[in-house]
Amino acid sequence: MTGNPEIWLAIAGMALVTYLCRAGGFWAMGFVRMTPRVEGWLAAMPSALVAAILARTLASAGAVEIAGVAAAFLVARFLGGDFTGMIAGIGAVAVLRAVSA
């Protein structure tokens, strides 16, 4: 299958499209003047995109995964830092799945 040039064309195209996404936003913003409005837009990006990522995760998740997200969020917020929260979330999911299996 390695010999099929179509495979390499497919991969080259995927690589190009992906890099244009990764570099394109940065490049394009070089032509935009950094007004306070633009800065406000970019500054809100992390909160908005992380919310979108979590919303999509939860949209196709069961009760166990929802509990895991809640555990990670609450532990990171009120007890330990990011890493502790992550471990709490993963641990909660592993335990709840073992119990409910």
Partner: protein
């Protein structure tokens, strides 16, 4: 009112790279697990080792690679594969745009090289760190290097294992990524001004997930939610 201080001059140091590699341990673990899953799926889809490894090395985007396997056929539907890749990775346009104020002074070659390794987790982690620490592009590159190595290693291991990988879900290993972002959210969503972008971003992503097509939900949610930041500024001034 500037939520985000404009970085004076972006540093790019070895120490930053080392700090990035060290900070990337949980993200690299996630990349390794993802790489194993992709490698096993690729083996099952009939891609040989060289092709699987090359795809991971050149594309380096888990979601897009797995999605492309789902429509892989003979002959390969090239346009569909490329369009799917774009849909899944379009969120990177927003991420890299948001890095402009931080990395504009970082040096062209170094910055565009670093952007090749951009990942969701690395982006979130670097932006969080730069709120309090020196803005060092090396930190983002260090995370990228660690995740890239783990992704390639995982791909090779997963391909070798093929059908024998068992279920990472039993140990909660499929949950590293959601758990990371839930913990990130806990430190990112602190200000009252975050409520609007979070609510609109989550709502738009859910609507897109249900009514448009799942792959576009991150682009639509991120774009809609972040635009609240434009109007938030208008209301204050």
């Amino acid at each position: 009112m500037h939520d985000q201080p404009r970085a004076p001059a972006t540093a790019f140091t070895w120490r930053g790279i080392e700090a990035g590699v060290a900070a990337a341990v949980p993200l690299a673990a996630n990349s390794a697990v993802g790489g194993v899953i992709f490698g096993a799926l690729a083996a099952q889809a009939g891609l040989d080792l060289a092709v699987s490894a090359a795809m991971s090395a050149l594309v380096y985007a888990g979601g897009a690679q797995v999605a492309s396997l789902q429509i892989w056929a003979n002959p390969i539907p090239l346009l569909a594969v490329w369009a799917t890749t774009f849909a899944v990775n379009s969120r990177y346009i927003l991420q890299s745009a948001s890095l402009r104020p931080w990395l504009a002074e970082g040096g062209t070659a170094r910055t565009y090289g670093t952007l090749f390794t951009l990942s969701d987790g690395g982006w979130a982690l670097a932006l969080k760190r730069w709120q309090t620490e020196t803005v060092d592009g090396g930190f983002l590159l260090g995370i990228g290097i660690a995740q890239y190595a783990a992704w390639i290693g995982g791909t090779l291991a997963g391909h070798a294992l093929g059908n024998r990988i068992g279920s990472p879900a039993a140990y909660g290993l499929d949950f590293i990524f959601p758990a990371f972002f839930a913990a990130m959210a806990a430190s990112l969503w602190k200000k009252r001004s975050d409520i609007g972008p979070v609510a609109v971003g989550a709502g738009a992503a859910l609507a897109a997930h249900l009514f448009v097509a799942g792959h576009w939900s991150l682009l639509i949610g991120g774009l809609a939610g972040s635009l609240v930041g434009v109007f938030a500024h208008d209301r204050k001034s």
